[in-house]
Amino acid sequence: MSAPALADEAAEALADGTTVAELRADKRVRRRRATLPYVLLAPGIIWLVVFFIVPMWSIVSTSVETGDMDTGFVLSWRWANFGDVWSQWHQQIIRSLEYSLMCTVFCLILALPLAYFIAFKAGRWKNLLMALVVAPFFTSYLIRTLAWKTILADDGWVVHAMNTLHITPLLSGMGWTYSDNSVLQTPFSVVCGMVYNFLPFTVLPIYTAMEKIDPRLHEAGQDLYASAWATFRKVTFPLALPGIVGGTLLTFIPAVGDYTNAVMLGGPKTKVIGTVIEQQMIGTGGNIPYGAALSVLLMVGTLVITLAYIKRAGTEEIV
């Protein structure tokens, strides 16, 4: 320590009557206190670096590489990769967004009454019903999706019933299926599979939000001569909104990247962007930078849509 600094310290010590030694001990404590937050934060920061920043960097840097599988890929900052993949696969990107949007809407239509019923009308059956909503998770996702191939088989009773009720010609008239007596390997079967697989993700947050609503608010609505619909619109819905926004996001975001349903229940015309990415990354496409560029595009696209949605839905609690 230099002489002037020592003098300063001594003067400081004299000023409030403590010894130099005490002052030094005090500084050490203060220094330790200053580093403590970083030590405590370290696990979180390491986690973030390892599982977020590094993979992010990896995927972004890979997306601007060039080369091929046999000679290797080199980082050449070729941003044109993004233009390439967009012009080649924008159809599949748009299709993925369409399917996941449809899936989210159908999930919401099914989940709202279901969650409402469980939260307010199920009484002592509440827990059992919630267990039933979650029960499918005990079986593998792939097996459940494959099961739909059996359920919707051309010779199965579901398709026979749909034929008898003239639903199949209606669907093919709308362009959701391709023939009058089958539904598999069409956009319809893909969206069906997605709705089935993602429904619990929509129901759970909505149920949690609704369950917290005080039933006396409903009674208050009735006391004030509000109709059942008005009570739902003015009381239940706004209070359940955070759950609705959460549930739709939990459905939409993974649905955009899902390709299991499209591969198993779809046909040549239902290829989604997840399949393209899989083929480019580890499959027959073999162009890893293109796969990475598509992943980045999809990520940014989903983020923009999500932010716009949250802004519009106006629930800051989510973000």
């Binding site: 995927i59 010779d155 580890i282």
Partner: protein, 428 residues
């Protein structure tokens, strides 16, 4: 930067001089690449990305000159052969392609007998669904000069040609395969692998049509009159047709339907065939493009008819499912056993190849899977195993049946890749 290039130079030199130490060097090189990429504790996806990065330097460092840049195809690098200490052979094959004990589906007599004879266990995996998909699965490891974990695999003729030209197949040591001389003369020297330096046939067969009579609304006799054109254009079967996604099969049928010869066709004829298939797809005639996973959809009636491999249909024990030779003709294919570069049990794999070439073993296998044997004496052996099989056109086809089958033109690597990617635009 200088450090890295100097490192690389030294590495290249060392690898060329001490091929034995190459594998260890490769290990440390990939670790270095790992750190250099600033990864540290990266996620699984990253590991994959790094593997391709190191692939670059290691493939070059081996001095093999593999890939499109070299003029003559090189041979697949040999891995350290652990056959003496590890009595095992890792075998990747297609589904429904081996005999199964009728009383216990987990037992495969051919493999069990091999173990009884040689003490070598065959670790059998049915993970080949299509040549393309399987190639994609192992391409990265092959390009990186790594062991794929497989010692033996069965792939079709054109894929053998591709792998051989890319230098990913190990040449066979015929000292371990004395039965090699018993190959039938017409299978001993195919264009995709001259003199079979790298392969031994597993089975030969036909690509034809499988028909679900009930779903198609046909009798067995009516079904025999079906053509590829019926399958691709008749509105009765709209949305109930399965079609192979693999270029050779798919385009082969397209060529037959448009009146071209799959064994000798021009670019224009290829384009016409692809357009023909594209049209059937756009009209929703084709329900799905498949690999070897078409059988369930055919048996449960989702397909009225589909492209099929002869033995698969013959193995289905159901009078409602029949095989049909389309009026335009059908395709020949040969599936071959081969050893990928860097395999760690090469000698064991060769012993297995030799075993499969014994007439009684080959005949028993083909009697079960209903494909065509490729070794001399299989017919004699079949007399004691199953005399009825001698009349089976799928196992011992006569001249008339053979006349309906077409070979597929042998293509150079560049044309093959072009055609494959062109057809992929149709299959999605």
């Amino acid at each position: 930067m200088n450090d890295i290039s100097r490192d690389r130079e030294q590495f290249l030199e060392a690898a060329a001089r001490y091929p034995e130490a190459f594998k260890r060097q490769l290990g440390s090189a990939s670790r270095r690449g790992f750190l250099a990429a600033g990864v540290g504790l990266g996620a699984a996806g990253l590991l994959g990305a790094c593997a391709t990065k190191t692939a670059h330097s290691s493939a070059g460092s081996a001095g093999s000159g593999s890939g499109s840049s070299s003029a003559a195809p090189s041979e697949g690098k040999e891995g350290a052969d652990k056959s003496d200490t590890e009595k095992i052979v890792n075998f990747s094959n297609w589904v429904s392609y081996i005999d199964v004990d009728p009383n216990d589906k987990n037992k495969r007599p051919t493999l069990d007998n091999f173990k009884a004879e040689t003490g070598i266990t065959v670790d059998y995996t049915e993970d080949v669904n299509s040549n393309d998909d399987f190639f994609a699965k192992i391409h990265q490891q092959l390009a990186a000069g790594q062991d794929t974990g497989r010692d033996l695999m069965v792939l079709s003729d054109w894929m053998i040609g591709k792998l051989r030209q890319m230098g990913y197949l190990e040449p066979l040591n015929l000292a371990n395969i004395p039965n090699f001389k018993d190959l039938l003369p017409d299978t001993a020297n195919p264009a995709y692998d001259p003199n079979r330096k790298h392969t031994v046939p597993w089975a030969l067969g036909f690509t034809l049509m499988g028909v679900n009579l009930k779903s198609a609304g046909l009798t067995k006799d009516q079904a025999q009159q079906l053509s590829i054109k019926d399958m691709m254009t008749d509105a009765k079967y709209k949305g109930k047709v399965g079609y192979f996604a693999e270029m050779e099969d798919g385009v082969g049928f397209g060529l037959l339907a448009t009146g071209a010869d799959p064994a000798k066709f021009t670019d224009d004829q290829f384009n016409a065939a692809v357009a023909y298939i594209q049209k059937a797809r756009d009209n929703n005639q084709i329900r799905q493009f498949t690999g070897n996973d078409y059988i369930n959809d055919l048996t449960n009636g989702n397909y009225a008819m589909c492209m099929a491999y002869s033995g698969d249909i013959a193995q289905i024990d159901d009078p409602n499912i029949v095989w049909v030779v389309p009026t335009e003709g059908m395709l020949w294919f040969t599936d071959n056993m081969c050893i990928p570069a860097m395999a760690s049990h090469k000698t064991n794999a060769e012993k297995f190849m030799n075993y499969m070439l014994e007439p009684k073993v080959g005949a028993a296998l083909d009697d079960y899977i209903s494909y065509i044997p490729s070794m001399q004496g299989a017919d004699t052996a079949m007399k004691t195993i199953d005399p009825n099989a001698l009349q089976n056109q799928l196992i011992f086809p006569d001249a008339a049946t053979k006349a309906k089958a077409h070979e597929f033109q042998n293509l150079d690597l560049k044309t093959l890749d072009k055609y494959v990617s062109q057809f992929k635009d149709v299959t999605g």
